[in-house]
């Protein structure tokens, strides 16, 4: 079996009396797309937050990435080590264009300068198939899909080992979700390990090799996606008990 590139050991996060993530242990293997599903408020984004340290770390438990324990590291150190993420935001930098957004990431996260940074920025924008004629348009004026492409490109510019995507399909139309599906599969085939939080179940089932479902901050089920969604507890909690 492939060694896990990323794993957590009993991570928990509390906000006063509220336990947002409770005793979650899971592992992501190198080269796979690992899906995370769960109803609203189930702790998916909080799990991403505590794994990357932005804006807060774990209350207890351990996060291991690429053979090192990273749960006490500064967020940018985690990102520079190769664990990069996107946010559920409209645009990362609304008043920077695509070229500038990528140059900032390439310089600070990728450690590149001058022409080399520009070359990398262009290569990554090409890789996510970002329209060349739209690269000088301010991010705030881009379409929803272009903003998603830019966000993925921005996270990829430092050539991460694992890319964590937080609901990349939200706000997309069906044809755009199909494009995103193809893009994620392409990136994965190129060797990128992807951790994917998503509400659009069809996308999760289509691209994920393994799936984990959270509910009230706890793991409800994990394993083969088609088997996971058939588990009674998952159907009850996530799908509202309507599936037969």
């Amino acid at each position: 079996m492939t060694e896990p590139v990323l794993h957590t050991r009993s991570v928990s996060k509390s906000f006063g009396g509220l336990q947002a993530v409770k005793d979650v242990s899971f592992e992501v293997r190198e080269g796979e797309i690992f899906g995370i599903a769960g109803p609203n408020g189930s702790g998916k984004s909080t799990l991403f937050n505590i794994m990357t340290g932005i804006p807060f770390g774990v209350t207890s438990g351990e996060v291991h990435f690429d053979g090192q324990r990273v749960d006490r590291w500064a967020p940018h150190r985690i990102a520079q080590a190769g664990l990069c993420r996107t946010f559920q935001k409209d645009a990362e930098y609304p008043d920077l264009d695509a070229n500038e957004t990528l140059l900032v990431s390439a310089t600070y996260n990728g450690g590149l300068r001058g022409a080399e940074a520009t070359r990398r920025a262009n290569a990554v924008l090409d890789q996510v198939e970002f329209d060349r004629s739209r690269r000088c348009v301010l991010s705030r004026e881009l379409s929803v899909y272009e903003k998603k492409q830019l966000m993925i490109a921005s996270a990829m510019v430092s050539q991460p080992k694992v890319l964590m995507l937080d609901e990349p399909a939200s706000g997309l139309t069906k044809p755009e979700i199909a494009r995103l599906d193809a893009l994620l599969v392409d990136l994965n085939r190129a060797g990128l390990t992807i951790l994917l939080i998503e509400h659009v179940l069809s996308l999760l089932l289509s691209v994920s090799q393994r799936l984990m479902v959270l509910n009230y901050g706890e793991i409800l089920a994990q394993g083969d996606p088609t088997a996971v969604v058939k588990e009674p507890a998952v159907i009850e909690a996530y799908l509202g008990g309507r599936r037969k």
Binding site: I54, Q80, L103, V104, Y108, R113
Partner: protein
Amino acid sequence: MIDTLIATLVSGLVLGSLYALMASGLSVVWTTLGVFNFSHGALMMVSAFVAWTVSEALGLGLLVGIAAGTLSAALVGIIIERLLVRPFYGDRNMLLITVMTTLAAMIILEKSALIIWGARLKQLPRLIEGEISIFGATISAHEALLVALAPLLLIAIWQFTVRSTVGRSLRAVGQNQESASLIGIDVSKAFAIAFGLSAALAGLTGALLGSIRFITPTMGSEPLVKAMIVVIFGGLGSLGATAGAAYVIGIIEALLILWLGLYWTPFALFLLMIVVLVFRPNGIFGGRE
């Protein structure tokens, strides 16, 4: 009549240049930190006094004086950021708190200047002697230098924010601190750079103004108020809009002085500001929300 109008427009250009330099400094801090720095005018004054001390009292020459003034303003700006702004980052009332702390800084600097340099009026010699005629209107060569220097400095700041790595990082921090810190940009350092750059700009303006107006502890107050009208008029978000608004306000002020006289001009300017705030809260050049 035409001669008077040309003379008024040229004097408006001088005022506009002064306001453009002031307001663009305010804009740099606002777009990066989301803070309105009320001590900006006082930094201008500190620079003028330091420039006077170095060039006149110590006799080291005007250019050395201007450089020392600009650097001292930058240094004081960085100290203000560290002591009076930084402790409140992340506080949800940060904007209101920093209004008070930077106002306090202004008062402290003005009173300190009074203690250090006294109440006697001071003035710097002009960097360039002589006069220049523009379409028949005569201004001092020093004022002409201010008019020429302002757009060059504004273009330099604009190019710095658009082309340089540090400039882009300041814009990134201003737009999304979370993402910026995630990719390894040192947000505290970016804040200090923005404050220092803005203060240096105020300092250079102050040192140049010290040759045109008298240097007093409160010399920065009136330009600060005008710069506030400029940023309200133009919107704070973009350097280009702020600079454009500065020239428009400078020329409007000069025309108002001609038509209404000095006494009623501030009243008319504030009335204009209120009208703009009522109908275009984001400024004439700012986008509608």
